[in-house]
């Protein structure tokens, strides 16, 4: 296996600064990170260390102050706004800490939205949705309103939604932050399975050591620097 062609995310000398009055605060300093297919990297760190900022840059929600961020060799930061949106929906999946699902919507409708944005035809949607739900063992809940699901189920739906467009990499922000131990274990089982089976690259931002232990590689973000842990 050629290791270089397997690299999905490639961050090099990345920095991020914020202006606070006349002062400039450096949140991220010279970050270097490579994530390969089938690899799950945990980014750990205390609150305020810049984990979310790094995640927002990886999600192309905000640009870095300097450095490069390429995905499969493409400089995604310099893409126009519309191309970034297309990139997000076709190459990436997101799982958020607060199990963000569309309220007043069913599981099916939650999973259908990314497919609508991607332009998948109606007759193909059901198959993709059921396939994604099968991966998290929730196909029997497909018509259930999202507000009637348990915390664990909501997070599994969020994972299925991240998978439905068959992304190349998934960003997870504290995916087990609001779950009990049993549900956290189950969610991580699914993550491991997905990275193995679908060869998806995954970055998991967490401050939970047990969650990080399940990842193939761990990094610590402290004082703006990312180091192997």
């Amino acid at each position: 296996m050629n290791k270089n062609t397997d690299v999905v995310i490639d961050i090099s000398h990345l920095t991020k600064e914020y202006a606070s009055g006349t002062e400039r605060i450096k949140v991220l300093k010279d970050i270097n990170l490579q994530v390969r297919r089938g690899e799950m990297v945990a980014v750990m760190g205390p609150s305020g260390s810049g984990k979310s900022t790094l995640l927002f840059i990886l999600g192309v929600f905000q640009p870095p102050s300097s450095g490069s961020f390429t995905v499969a060799g493409v400089d995604v930061i310099s893409l126009p706004r519309q191309a970034q949106a297309v990139f997000r929906r076709e190459k990436m999946g997101f799982v958020f800490q607060s199990c963000d699902l569309l309220e007043n919507s069913t599981v099916y409708e939650n999973l259908e939205l990314p497919l609508i944005y991607t332009g998948v035809k109606r007759r193909e949607r059901q198959g993709k949705i059921m396939e994604a739900l099968q991966r998290v063992n929730l196909e029997h809940r497909v018509r259930q309103p999202s507000n009637r699901l348990s915390g664990g189920e909501r997070q599994r739906v969020a994972i299925a939604r991240a998978l439905v467009n068959e992304p190349e990499f998934i960003l997870a922000d504290e995916p087990t932050g609001q779950l009990d131990r049993e549900n956290s274990e189950r969610v991580m089982d699914y993550f491991v399975k997905i990275t193995d089976e679908a060869r998806v690259a995954m970055v998991v931002v967490t401050h939970d050591a047990a969650t990080a232990e399940r990842c193939s590689r761990k990094c610590l973000l402290a004082d703006g620097r990312l180091d192997p842990y």
Binding site: F56, G59, F61, Q62, T70, A72, G73, V74, D75, S78, L79, P80, R81, Q82, A83, A85, V86, F87, R88, R89, E90, K91, F94, F96, D100, L102, E103, N104, E109, L113, P114, I116, Y117, T118, G119, V120, K121, R122, E124, R161, N165
Partner: protein, 418 residues
Amino acid sequence: MANTTTVSELRQAGFLPKNQGGTRLLRISDLFRISYREVMRKRRRYIGVVAAIALGTAGFITIVTMGRDLKANFNNDLDLLGGATIIAAHFDPPMNDRQEWFRSDTIAALRQVPGVRDLTVTRLRAGVTTTFQDKTYGFNLLGVDSNYWRLFSFTARLGRLFTEEDVSEGLKVCVLGEDLAKTIFTTPENSLGQILNMDNNLYRVVGIVGGVRAADKTLWAFLPISTAKDRIANISEVSDVYVRCKTWDDVAPVAEVLPGLIKSHQIDRGLRVQVAWEPLKQVQRMFWWVSLFIYASISATLVLGGFGIWNIMMAAVTSRTREIGLKKAMGGEDSDILLQFLFESLCVTFTSSLLGVLLGRVGVEYMSRMLGSSPPEGLFFLCLMAGLGFAVVLGIGAGLYPSIRASRMQVVDAMRYE
């Protein structure tokens, strides 16, 4: 690869997968479906604005569709006060020339003028005498047709007025003014069925004239015009023509046409056309204010409905900030977010307008029955289209700014919003 920028170039380069085949139209229809679902699920919050817009639209459709019939009805009722829509035409007696009278073909042509609702003609004989119980009474006599009563809004105070049969068969019946009846027969009630002798012909009294405008005809006697022509000596030819217009808007055009039309059929020497311009202006002014009030109320209702939607949409954008961030994180473009919120606004106004059209139809049917007219379908359809068109304008007007605000939201700010 680093210089690759457009989506199609990224697809060609293999960085992005092939297009999934969905068209822009499919995407728009999906967004519309999502918006409709969203509105339906939160329908309670829209009840107030839906009711306001529906009632405004219904009012607009009813008033505009039935406007002409309503005006005609108002016209009839208000006209009792001043005869504002009655145009009188007669020939002045010339100094040294032959007196002109209205000819039958002139009268027939006048009936065909657009805007003319009723037309009546009279023959006059001044100074008729009759004898009753050895007393002699003098009065003026008018030969009239059956339209005369309707045109001047006369009613039968007692008995009945002339019918078409009385006129066509030239029956020897007469109607009296109230004071004349009192003078001759002591009371109006006594006069009914009495026989009155005029020019050696006997006429049975069948009614006493009444109504708001009867005050200046209390000392007059009336005969069917055909009877008067045949039996009353020295009665004039058709000396006066009275035209009642359909609405007061028709008065000026009809009054303008009349002299030329008469001239085209006969000599118009001494012709005078009289219009009660002052009462007409007063009635028009009054109706203008009433119309202004009604249309202002309808407009205010619709504008308030629009502001209501604007307010709800602004609140929705704030309360759904995380949802907007989430959708953008899932790859929703600014235009997707804009369209979704705009469609929600349009769904509300369009649904309201459809409801308004239904209510308007009910209103039109009800008023048609009340006024005894048939609703003009073409005008209703036009109002329907105007109502739906206005709904689109209102939906876009009220929803555009909140939609733009939602579409321009930054993902980072939206996802961090608590």
